[in-house]
Symmetry: C2
Subunit: 103 residues, 2 copies
């Protein structure tokens, strides 16, 4: 199996609108996954990096949340505007985007 | 954020029954996720290991598929009967279950 340099899991969990926890899907995470896949293609990373949707990752209040393995970088509050930055600076450049890292 | 010793992603992708690729959901992966969560509790691994459902991981014909990070171990053909073995031998014991590893 491929040993991806970066395998990102983006939470696409869905909760009912009345749930006080909210959910990443309501914050646009399905569109984020599609944007990440397009960005990987654009940067020629098909087969070396991968983005997969995931169930609930935990820190719901800080969604959209995602985790990048194997290094284990957790991002929160990710929006469509951040996709190109994450792919170019982190997946290509090797430096996580500090302002989005959850600690 | 927690640095899990083992963060497993189990494919729960759904495809229509007529799709020739099949899908991991039809092979019982949602029940697998629940069984993994129960096994983690049983072994006292809550907070140190985690199991999350995921979208399509790729090798559909070899489902149920899963990947364990940060080490990047890929398993295929996983069934309910394998859950206790994976948790006790791999997550607790530290040795991946060789017969299920996809290469």
């Amino acid at each position: 199996m491929p040993a991806y340099t970066h395998h990102a899991f983006v939470c696409t969990n869905v909760r009912p609108p009345e749930n006080p926890k909210g959910c990443c899907a309501a914050k646009g995470s399905p569109e984020l996954v599609a944007a990440f896949k397009a960005a990987l293609e654009r940067h020629g990373l098909h087969g070396t990096a991968k983005v997969t949707s995931s169930g609930c990752l935990g820190p719901c209040a800080r969604g959209v949340t995602m985790v990048v393995y194997p290094e284990g970088t957790w991002y929160g509050g990710v929006t469509l505007d951040d996709v190109e930055t994450i792919v170019s600076e982190h997946f290509v450049g090797g430096t996580p985007v500090a302002r989005l890292v959850m600690t």
